[in-house]
């Protein structure tokens, strides 16, 4: 479970004279196995939320508890262990251009100290699940944007995370490809297998997923949170 209680995050400006509030008194609970769209325009606070969830940043005030880890009080040595339970899918994919698709995915397992045997068994399975086995030996620049996104997703999923966070996963894709990727992301959270958080500003695209929850951010505040179709139409 993810639980934000009165979470505020402020940043000091470079001159340290003023502060910017990125998130302001956020209260949000996401149950295990939920698929949630986090929407909002640029500067609404979505990325800050993602950085707080991955413990790249610490809340200025309030409490943030994820899978029983209190992210304000977590010990430094426990942070890698916590992060290994989260899969991150980045807007720009962040694939290593000198690694093949296979090596990019295997890298995520190597980082966690998984054995070569386990890597050899798991990586082909995940590539097959995401339908990119045929591209295993290609380099990122040799494959399409959709395939790059699938590779990035494979890397995020290969360690079987409890939470998957996709940051603007369709930002660099064509509309057709966007739909395909979004379907894939939503399916990854089907039957409560894992919590999936999809950060996006593409409201039109998510209108296709009427039964999923949407949380809308504006200027660091949640202005809308509902699974209700009628309310979503208002958004």
């Amino acid at each position: 479970m993810i639980e934000f209680k009165h979470v505020t995050k402020t940043y000091r400006s470079s001159t340290r004279e003023t502060t910017v509030t990125a998130l302001n008194d956020i209260n949000l609970t996401i149950e295990d196995g939920e698929v949630v769209f986090l929407v909002g325009s640029n500067g609404a606070g979505k990325s800050t939320l993602m950085r707080l969830l991955t413990r790249m940043e610490v809340p200025t005030s309030g409490s943030l508890i994820v899978n029983n880890y209190d992210l304000r009080k977590i010990k430094k040595r426990k942070i890698p262990e916590y992060r290994s339970q989260i899969g991150m899918d980045f807007q720009d994919f962040k694939l290593f251009s000198k690694y093949t698709v296979y090596e990019n995915v295997a890298f995520a397992m190597r980082v966690l100290g998984k054995s070569s045997k386990s890597i050899k068994t798991t990586v082909p399975l995940v590539l097959s699940m995401l339908d990119i086995s045929a591209r295993a030996n290609h380099f990122p620049l040799e494959i399409s944007g959709g395939e790059q996104q699938r590779t990035a997703l494979a890397r995020a999923l290969v360690n079987n995370p409890k939470i998957l966070i996709a940051d603007e996963p369709t930002a660099n894709l064509s509309p057709a490809m966007s739909r395909e990727v979004m379907d894939l992301l939503v399916s990854l959270g089907e039957n409560g297998r894992r919590t999936v958080l999809i950060i996006t500003h593409d409201v039109e695209l998510i209108s296709n997923y009427k039964h999923k929850r949407i949380v809308k951010f504006e200027r660091g505040k949640i202005v809308y949170d509902s699974k209700n179709d009628e309310v979503r139409n208002d958004a």
Binding site: I79, P80, R83, F96, R110, G113
Partner: protein, 304 residues
């Protein structure tokens, strides 16, 4: 508990080393220069030290006899009186014949200097060389006794090296201080260079590090390749510096051996006697600077 494959970690380190290309070469060159300067300075100081020590035995008093040859019955008596003195550890007698032989050996390169002397016109006097222990005051007391004509009328001159010893001791200490300060500065510069190299390596791989952090890499996993890269830089620098040191030292050795050193005025220690210390020194210095430099840089620039 995560178990990382050492071969994988090492291969990442060496890939990083080769990927850094020019930056790695630049840091090797700079570190090699620092080692070479330190090594050369250290070897010069060592040779200077050896020469200062070999100028003479400083805890010795040389007593020259009044006569070209003492009456036979006085030798034992004089020897016994000298050994009985407080703080005296050894008494060596050198006959005038032996003194001439010694000098001929010392200046073998210039035989013409002593060729004209023989038993008839031997210019040397008989000498008692007295070694002693104790403080400066003990040495002064001993000198006072030996110079007392009533006690030792046999001696025409009594020469001590007390003042020279003190001067040399001060000189040696000064040299050591200068060497220490110089080494400190060089180590400091090397550490700064390694810090910057590691910092640049980190910034060139910042995206890779960021992804590793997101995936859940430990600080150790992220830092290890940088540390190994840095130590490898140190190792390569030490090897290159050693080879260059060997070549330059031998060149200087050969050049000086045909000059001042050949006359016996100065002593140059051959590299064959010094190389183990040079190897240990270079490895210790390069590893130490690389370890400290990368540790500081990693703790400053890599966050978990």
């Amino acid at each position: 508990m995560r178990k990382y494959s050492l071969s994988y970690l090492m291969s990442r380190s060496f890939k990083g080393f080769s990927r850094n290309g020019l930056m790695s070469i630049a840091s090797i060159l700079i570190l090699t220069s620092c080692l070479l300067v330190s090594g050369s300075f250290g070897l010069i100081i060592y040779n200077l030290y050896v020469n200062l020590n070999s100028l003479n035995e400083l805890n010795e008093i040389v007593c020259m006899c009044n006569y070209e040859k003492l009456p036979d019955e006085q030798y034992d008596d004089l020897y016994n009186r000298l050994t009985a003195l407080p703080n005296v550890t050894k008494v060596d007698f050198t006959s005038r014949e032996q003194a001439l032989v010694n000098m001929r050996e010392k200046y073998a390169q210039h035989p013409q200097v002593l060729d004209r002397f023989n038993e008839e016109n031997n210019p040397f006097f008989e000498i008692y060389t007295i070694s002693y222990t104790g403080s400066d005051q003990d040495a002064v007391n001993l000198l006072f006794t030996l110079r007392n004509k009533n006690e030792f009328p046999e001696f025409r001159t009594v020469e001590d090296k007390l003042e020279t010893a003190n001067t040399l001791e001060q000189l040696k200490n000064t040299i050591l201080w200068i060497f220490g300060a110089f080494m400190f500065i060089l180590v400091f510069i090397s550490v700064i260079i390694i810090m910057n190299t590691v910092r640049m390596a980190i910034s060139s791989r910042s995206e890779e590090i960021e992804i590793m952090r997101y995936i859940g890499a430990t600080g150790w996993f992220i830092s290890f390749p940088f540390m190994i890269e840095s130590l490898f830089t140190g190792l390569v620098s030490a090897v290159i510096a050693f080879v260059l040191q060997f070549l330059t030292y031998n060149y200087m050795f050969n050049m000086l051996s045909s000059g001042a050193a050949s006359s016996g005025i100065i002593t140059i220690v051959p590299f064959s006697e010094l190389w183990p210390y040079v190897v240990i020194g270079f490895l210790a210095l390069s590893f130490l600077t690389c370890y400290i430099g990368s540790k500081i840089s990693l703790s400053k620039h890599i966050k978990v």
